[in-house]
Symmetry: C2
Subunit: 237 residues, 2 copies
């Protein structure tokens, strides 16, 4: 029998739910094909919590239930993600599991949580385009790519990038053929109505204002607030 591997998705209140569900769907479909890869959603507690949409969500296991996952995936979000980045029980869980994990991954601003846990030091990493420069504050080298793998650290760009990252991860775990079968399963043949993003038209000023608000509301008077805000002004320029 193949060795069992546990892939744990970290849930916290108010996260951007597509950050979590994009890769969760991909990995769950993979797990249905290859049951030795067990997928779980972990949180500090099992009570239902909110998201950045009206959907209410809950984990199936607690941090304490899953002390040694092989892969950990951390979703991002706005204000609540910055709150999570200074929430000790979450940081303690990530610091505790990272040394034994094959891979620590994030989607969108989930990488800011990894950074706050000290896991991005010396790593190439990415995040949502609007806050990319902030990663440098955690000792990381910010990279504007769809996903970035540096050793055991895999980070994805904003929100929907988690789907692309997860297909890459399935390929790493089980090969391109399996990843292709999952891609057919989720019929991932993207057709944005007007094509991909035209970066020269990015609404940078708007998102800089939004990101500043995330930092202020999420970090309050925490020392990290000022340090990240200073980097943000770099991003906005």
């Amino acid at each position: 029998m193949a060795e069992e591997k546990t892939i744990a998705f970290v849930l916290y209140p108010g996260c951007t739910i597509l950050d979590l569900v994009g890769p969760l769907q991909v990995l769950s479909m993979f797990s249905a094909m290859r049951p030795e890869f067990r997928v779980t959603v972990v949180a500090e507690g099992l009570e239902t919590c909110g998201t950045d949409t009206p959907l209410q969500v809950g984990a199936d296991r607690t941090f304490a239930d899953v002390p040694a996952p092989d892969v950990v995936v951390v979703p991002g979000g706005g204000t609540p993600t910055l709150r999570a980045a200074i929430h000790e029980p979450l940081l303690a869980y990530l610091r505790g599991v990272a040394p034994g994990a094959d891979l620590v991954a994030s989607v969108c601003t989930g990488s800011l949580i990894l950074g706050a846990a000290g896991l991005l030091e010396g790593r190439r990493a990415t995040t949502h385009w609007a806050v990319l420069d902030v990663l440098a504050e955690f000792g990381a080298t910010p990279v504007g790519e769809r996903w970035v793998q540096d050793g055991p650290v895999l980070t994805a760009a904003g929100v929907s990038a988690g789907i692309d990252m997860a297909l890459h991860l399935v390929e790493e775990l089980a090969g391109a053929e399996v990843a292709r079968t999952v891609q057919f399963g989720i019929e991932y043949d993207p057709e944005p109505p007007h094509g991909g993003l035209e970066w020269s038209e990015a609404p940078r000023a708007l998102y800089a204002t939004v990101a500043e608000q995330w930092l202020q509301e999420g970090l309050g008077t925490h020392p990290l607030a000022e340090r990240l805000a200073a980097r943000l002004n770099g991003s906005a320029g």
Copy 2:
């Protein structure tokens, strides 16, 4: 003040959660920019239910709370979606709200639920590629496109197609500029590791077997089981 519009996402136990969350994320971000569009997740009851992943989910309002939404979106899935397609309280809700709604939408096999509710009669429509031919059994003309709008009925192809459909919907509701801003918000600049789907390589036999299982397990001895299975053999060929 602009007229208020309610966009209701229908939740039922066991649905494919990315079908729901893809468009829900897009429309929720839109709602943050244009609060006159209110987004809600509706279900028969407010208790937490399972999905096709380990994530537990719950609605914020019941069917009874939202008797007249302007837009309704129904997600798909496997076996549980076929169960939902013969679940009278859900069908009654859809039949009740459809006449007053501007738009009734579905993602993936959610269109089979619309079909079972009698809402696809005479319409061009789509669904997950593996069950496309089944739509004819509901009086629809199956169309293999990413999303299909026919009057007040908007259907999307499998799972991830709901994101593309939702961006189209935002553009219909508020224009291309707003849709573009949302697309930057979710950083939707897709980059599947090996590109889009190569349809000549679709694992048709595998998914035909899976789809047959959905029908058998989901519909049991219901008369619809045999009728849809006959169409499915067409899809598999």
